[in-house]
């Protein structure tokens, strides 16, 4: 845990969070119109990653025949393939698994959702390549290298001072080494006073060198983002902009808001509710598809298997609840917070608990503010 790496971690968290936000939007939109937690959403995300994988293979990036060189058009083809496939899958699931149960208690749909999710996870293993888990060939991505931003830092260290620190450290190291040579067999944890003093000096100078490295050689703070992930962030922002336009300024969007406000009243007012529900699943699932394609392509070393969607799905769900489920800006905020929370847990050194943090956050939110950050909790009418 180094304080100076915190800004970089925050940026990593936002990058991760943008993917969570894309998935969370699907949860929140579906919950908005149907009051249903679409448990299978994470698996739609997983199928999106496969769609992107197959698209990349179709474009010629097979494991045995990796094309060299690539252009952004390939990425757009993959993105569209993934979004289209997921959108249609979402619509299909809604039509055949949720719609027949709309008049039943909500638990029935929830159980079907679990069923679909298990079916895609385990049934997918029969048809999809999963062991050894494939990954999208890195050469698909033309945006290699890092974007680096250097931030000036007030208390910078000049080159001369840096050289001075380096040389002091070298001297301290040398004198301690010399002392050790002359005192063979000294117990490192129980040194005589003179040896201890030399060791202390060496520790101090070493720390100074480490600090120097963290600040950068010219006393500045360096942040770096892989170019691909930068493109990912930009695409996410564009998609969210499009969604906002769709929901706020189009007829479809207005109908969607009406349905989410009052399903039955919207139907009475002549809104084609089934059409809107289908449309919501289409849009929400397509966003998950976009997220899947981008995380499978731009996050390095991503392996795809049929459980690919499980953890991102759960975390995105937590993000949706955190922001206030049913609330679109809430999902984005929740997603970003979840991403940051997760990288912070890793930064604090609890790597093993990075998957548990989502549930901890969830339980705390539900206990403290069940409506979420931007949502409002409803009171049951008696």
């Amino acid at each position: 845990m180094e304080l100076s790496t915190l800004p970089q971690q925050l940026i990593n968290g936002i990058l991760l969070g943008s993917i969570y936000a894309l998935i969370a939007l699907g949860y929140t939109m579906v919950y908005g119109v149907l009051k249903l937690i679409n448990f299978a959403h994470g698996e739609v995300f997983m199928m999106g990653a496969y769609a992107a994988l197959f698209a990349s293979w179709a474009l010629g990036y097979t494991p045995n025949n990796a094309l060299t060189g690539s252009n952004p058009v390939n990425l757009i083809v993959m993105l569209l393939a993934s979004m289209t496939f997921c959108g249609l899958l979402g619509v299909f699931i809604e039509r055949f698994a949720y719609r027949p149960l709309r008049t039943q208690p909500r638990i029935a749909s929830l159980i079907t959702a679990i069923g679909i999710s298990l079916f895609l996870q385990y049934g997918g293993q029969l048809f999809l390549p999963s062991s050894p888990a494939p990954n999208i060939d890195g050469k698909v991505n033309p945006f290699i290298g890092n974007l680096e931003v250097t931030l000036a830092k007030g208390a910078g260290t000049s080159a001369a001072a840096a050289a001075d620190i380096q040389s002091k450290a070298a001297v301290a190291q040398k004198s301690y080494d010399d002392w050790k040579l002359s005192h063979k067999g000294a117990d490192e944890f129980n040194l005589p006073a003179d040896g201890q003093a030399l060791l202390n000096v060496k520790h101090d100078t070493d720390r100074a060198v480490r600090d120097l490295k963290d600040r950068g050689d010219s006393g500045s703070l360096k942040l770096s983002v892989p170019r691909g992930q930068f493109i990912m962030l930009v695409t996410t922002v564009i998609l969210m902009g499009m969604l906002t336009y769709l929901v706020m300024f189009t007829k479809q969007g207005r109908a969607m808001r009406a349905v989410s406000h009052d399903f039955d009243a919207a139907a009475l007012m002549g809104v084609n509710v089934n059409g809107i529900v289908t449309f919501t699943f289409l849009v929400g699932s397509a966003l998950a598809g976009a997220g899947a394609m981008m995380s499978a392509t731009f996050l390095s070393g991503t392996k795809i298997d049929t459980f690919f969607g499980m953890l991102p799905g759960v975390k995105a769900f937590v993000a949706a609840v955190l922001g206030g489920i049913g609330n679109i800006p809430g999902a984005v905020l929740g997603g970003l917070l979840m991403g940051v929370a997760e990288t912070l847990v890793v930064w604090l050194g609890y790597d093993n608990y990075r998957d548990a943090i989502a549930f901890v956050v969830l339980i705390i939110v539900l206990l403290v503010r069940p409506g979420g950050l931007l949502g409002s909790s409803k009171v049951e009418k008696v």
Partner: protein
Amino acid sequence: MTFWQTRLGSIALALVFCFSLDQFALHQNSFIQRLVVLAGLYVTLAVSLNLINGITGQFSIGHAAFYQVGAYTTGSLAGAFFNKAHLPGPAWLILMMFAGAIGASLAGLLVGLPSLRLKGDYLAIVTLGFGEIIRIVVQNQKALGGAYGLTIAPRFQAIWLVWLLAILCISVSRNLLKTAHGLPFLAVREDEVASSAMGVNVTSVKVTAFLIGSAFAGAAGALLAHFEGFISPAMFTMDVSFIIVTMVVLGGTGSITGAALSAVLLFYLPEKMRDLSDLHLSTIVAVGICLVIAVASIKRLMDHFHGEPRKRAGFMAGVVMGAVVLVPILGALLNNFDPLKTSVEGSKLRLVVFAVTLIVLMLLRPQGVFAHHEFSWAWVRKLFRGTVKAPEGVA
């Protein structure tokens, strides 16, 4: 017959059943023994989850967590104290059952508390999350063996105790429903506001349900740990929770009979599937297609025969027969396509079967096979007569 005669008689009957099952299993190979034990444990798990989900109407999908807490509590206790305790096997095992139950019910209290505020799907997610947290925490504890698991020193093959626990769990649930004390639980399921207006303390009812349910799961975990002699976090994943939920839902939420029977069935069927070493993918696809057609036609046409049980049964039989004939033909046809020629291990299909069962069941009979019915002779008689007399004035 007095009350105590009946009571002692039924206890004796339960003991005789358990010990004869024990004797029967002892003469079989270890695979069958394992089946008998795990079936008993799953009956306990399903019936105890039914108490939380079916009877009290909470939606917990993290039951494996309590199972795990029970197993690990007793696992670590056995490591620390078994050699010092100098207890005979069965006594130790019964003691451990209680220890597991206490450990798990403390965990149940912990989960029960958020349930005071949460309903339905939110509670489901919290219980799921809680289960995952416990698993991840255990995975990272070196003292508990981490991801590699924990070996439990004394191994006991007490099949009789496993089934005694299952019977105890069933009778506790049944007793609850037979007395007036069970009604507040059902009332909370039906309407929380109205129950609290009747003086029912909704909070304490929910927490009690969680306590009892998780205690039984914990006891089952203790027996599992001592039967297997080894436990690891991989034995208590989300899938186990989902399987238990499937059992409860398949049986009919709220029906003890349903939960117990479907636990045995859903446990036994996938175990059988391990034997199916190679299945042609084409056959699986054919089964899938036939299933979709069957479900769609049943869903469409069932309403036509509403109130005519004979025609309904005939129609169902027709659909099933049709599917049986269609599957091999379709499978043979599909086998001509290249990608479908590959074969799959039968064991890979286990969870697919669960998934398909869940979906088909929800689409065709959301209330579960037994719905809210319990096994009773009166019910069987009614089923065969096929009609229910409605008193006058009932809408």
